[in-house]
Symmetry: C2
Subunit: 198 residues, 2 copies
Amino acid sequence: MYSPSIQKLIEVFSKFPTVGPRTAARFVFYLMKRKKEEIDELITAIQNLKRNVKTCSLCFNPFEGTGELCEICQNPARDKSLLCIVEKETDLVALEKTKKYKGLYFILGGTVPLLRKKEKKKLRKKELIERIKKHPEIKEIIIATNPTTEGETTALYLERALKPLNKKITRLGRGLPMGGELEYADEETLRSALEGRK
Amino acid sequence: MYSPSIQKLIEVFSKFPTVGPRTAARFVFYLMKRKKEEIDELITAIQNLKRNVKTCSLCFNPFEGTGELCEICQNPARDKSLLCIVEKETDLVALEKTKKYKGLYFILGGTVPLLRKKEKKKLRKKELIERIKKHPEIKEIIIATNPTTEGETTALYLERALKPLNKKITRLGRGLPMGGELEYADEETLRSALEGRK
């Protein structure tokens, strides 16, 4: 239905996370209406991403600059006895925004999928265990996976895998989110809120 | 929070329709994980869009090929007495998929916005009136804007603007969508369904 160049770009955009063919088509028509300079800006930004951004060899956080370590891992003020495991980059950024956590991170790169076995290989489990073994200064490991079914499964999987390393393992606290109302909270959240009362 | 190249691309993607900063960040991390060939594929597809796709001088439908007219406008089998006005390219494609409409189209390029006056200029109202004047073979004009508040306002605005041209003006039929259930239909739809009963 669409002409070949439009169809091709719709297909490429459809592979983006959260994007279906309808949204992909909207992206294409949006780009068609942009000026040449705006298209060049997009292309340059994509190319610079690939050119400039490296992955931290310690925590797998993307960064720009010299050396092999990101700013967090390079920072001497960070508490090296704390290691927080997150599923993905955006989770790290969310925790950093709280300005409450001063330890280091490890980006796992995903969750243990409930069905697809293949995906499990993508998790940086081996890299995580190596890092903990190489760094005896780590005293506490915070498993900060998301409170979703896959996140929970991953947390249990990690707890089991890390147990032989004999470190203190903790999880993020559960309860009612700020602004949340009791009557709309699910039972699991309410149960955690009761258990975690203080 | 993000490094400059990541931040820049998040900003560019945030301007895409339906995309907020969170989704834009997911796009960036998705691209960071792609292989060089996949990135090149994306860039080439964007460049080809700009290089190969032209806009039909008659209906403003995007097309690839020689000449100034798209395949629909070039097709001698299409009924030149019918002109269907749609808001945007994807609406044209939706109508074409029905294989029911054999007339020509005109892509208006948007709706009359309820608040933002500036946007009104982007509508191809002048081009639409010129086209109808230049083509006396047009007997019926179908205003096929969306059944949204903005679409309705645009339809009324067009009806008023096209009235002096003395053509038959029609609108798409209203009623319950296939698979829709009465109990979930809004009053306006139900009212239209009653009025349009046959």
